[in-house]
């Protein structure tokens, strides 16, 4: 266990140091969520006037929760790029040789993703508050929302790690991003599920991301809904994707 922790902390320290001292890595991961928040909450605020839109905390808060969970997911994906880059540069192979407990490598990368997302989410939250966003949830509900974000972040980094360790090249970037992007955007991003029509309503109704979003928005508005389903989905995703990432690690080990 001590060797697992030592490997995880060493990988985490290196990743966190790289992320926070390299503006070309840090800035996009901070700016992207802010930009989405600005574009959606600012540019689309009139959508809150659409008949049937009844989110109590207003359109800014409605979009904030999406951007909050999206930043958690993409924080994990961005870390997948770092893993792929480590394989391209040869660092990851040396790491595989040196680490006494290789599963600690995955835990280390997951820690990096968590720390990076914590910074991003804090910045987005402060900007949202400064823009006049209403927060109706109590501290316990907000804590639950943060916990949900953490699980999404871990699930995303495990997904990206599995891809990165199987393909071991940055060219696999679209494979990490596109499925997550599509899953998120095929949920009720702009309006609640009830206001969606046609094929997108059908897809969103069975999309697991819809439960995460609805639970997150409910917690933020102080009207919890679908919380159990959302946590079950998030925990299930973490469990399945842990196996996925571990199989990826095995694939990387086999490749030598």
């Amino acid at each position: 266990m001590r060797s697992f922790t030592a490997v995880a902390l060493a990988v985490a320290w290196r990743g966190i140091h790289n992320a926070f001292t390299n503006p070309s890595i840090l800035v996009p991961s901070l700016l992207f969520p802010l930009f989405f928040f600005t574009a959606f909450a600012g540019g689309l605020s009139r959508v809150g006037d659409v008949p049937g839109f009844d989110f109590p905390a207003g359109y800014t808060a409605f979009q904030f929760v999406f951007v909050f969970l999206q930043s958690a997911a993409f924080g994990g994906i961005f870390n997948g790029f770092a893993i792929a880059r480590d394989f391209e540069s040869g660092f990851a192979r040396r790491l595989l040789l040196a680490a006494p407990r290789r599963t600690g490598i995955i835990a280390g990368y997951a820690l990096v993703a968590l720390v990076r997302w914590a910074a991003t989410a804090s910045v987005v939250f402060v900007v949202a508050l400064l823009s006049g966003m209403e927060v109706l949830g109590d501290p316990a509900e907000l804590f639950a929302l943060v916990l949900l974000g953490l699980l999404v972040n871990v699930a995303a980094v495990l997904w990206a790690a599995g891809i990165a360790m199987r393909f071991r090249t940055l060219q696999a970037g679209p494979l990490m991003q596109v499925p997550v992007f599509l899953t998120l955007f095929l949920a009720p991003v702009y309006v609640p599920l009830d206001l969606l029509d046609g094929w997108i309503h059908a897809v969103a109704s069975v999309n697991p991301a819809t439960f995460l979003l609805e639970a997150g928005r409910g917690l933020f508005a102080g009207e919890p809904t679908e919380v159990g389903a959302a946590f079950a989905i998030a925990l299930g995703a973490v469990a399945v994707l842990t196996l996925w990432a571990l199989r990826g690690l095995k694939s990387a080990e086999s490749a030598g």
Binding site: S24, P28, L31, F32, F35, F36, T38, A39, G42, G43, L44, S45, R46, V47, D49, V50, P51, G52, F53, Q171, P174, L182, F185, L186, P188, V189, Y190, V191, L195, L196, D197, G198, W199, I200, H201
Partner: protein, 260 residues
């Protein structure tokens, strides 16, 4: 043709650019598919926005189709820039500099790939729109105007990509600029008409953002008909961006060739 060396050079480099562009499915396919995916997602998610009082179209698809052309043009920017940067990094540009090739031929030839791609993109986007039920108010002639404006926008954005490639000489730098361009697209009237943007600073940014007028030029042909003001602004700005981009790229090319 042989009597006009500039034309001959443009044809040869243009053929190389077109073939190289179309032979890279990893670059070409996303530029066709991604804008259409985002269109489907946005139209599905924002269909109810057409119920906002004062919204200029009955169907959000009519309103949103114009944005796909902008996204296509954005891909043109990065493709053109990345290809030219690769020519710089591999030394191809240096070898060309040893020949009697003119700078103008290099730029025009390089952008031929962008134009070919933009033409295919615009045709596909219009076909998908028509199949999905869009009926442009400007009629069949309007379809040609949409394609022409779409290609002109892609040419302008491609010229900017070429300028950036010549300045930086790095494909990675061009890729890193992609998010910046994306910000310009999103801080425009892409999702709602400017008069319906409620947040004042956002409306101001969208009003001074040239991208809004490029989108509105194409959009006017779909939902309004032949709107002289929107078209003058759209074509004027697209032509201006193309002229400025080409001029800037020419200057950067001279500097790059002088250094090589």
């Amino acid at each position: 043709m042989s009597e006009n060396p500039l034309l001959l050079q443009v044809v040869h480099l243009g053929r190389r650019s077109v073939v190289r562009t179309l032979r890279q499915p990893l670059n070409v396919v996303p530029s066709f598919v991604f804008p259409l995916i985002l269109l489907a997602v946005n139209v599905g998610g924002l269909a109810s926005a057409a119920r906002i009082p004062g919204f200029p179209a009955d169907d959000y698809l009519d309103f949103a189709l114009a944005f796909t052309f902008m996204q296509g043009a954005l891909f043109a920017t990065t493709n053109a820039g990345t290809d030219l940067a690769r020519d710089i990094q591999t030394g191809f540009l240096n070898r060309l500099a040893l020949t009697p090739m003119r700078g103008a031929a290099l730029l025009l030839g390089q952008l031929a790939g962008v134009i070919a791609l933009a033409l295919l993109q615009a045709t596909l986007y219009i076909a998908v729109g028509l199949i999905a039920g869009v009926r442009p108010e400007s009629g069949i002639l309007g379809l040609f105007a949409i394609v022409f404006l779409g290609v002109l926008i892609a040419l302008g954005f491609g010229a900017i990509g070429a300028f950036l490639a010549l300045r930086t000489g790095s494909g990675e730098a061009i890729q890193a600029l992609f998010p910046l361009f994306f910000v310009f697209l999103f801080l425009s009237s892409m999702n709602l008409p400017r008069n319906l943007i409620e947040i004042e600073w956002f409306r101001t940014v969208a009003t001074i953002n040239p991208v809004s007028y490029l989108i509105e030029g194409i959009r006017s042909l779909i939902i309004t008909g032949w709107d002289a003001e929107a078209l003058a602004l759209g074509f004027g700005l697209a032509g201006g961006i193309a002229a400025l981009g080409l001029a800037a790229a020419s200057v950067a090319l001279k500097g790059r060739l002088a250094r090589s």
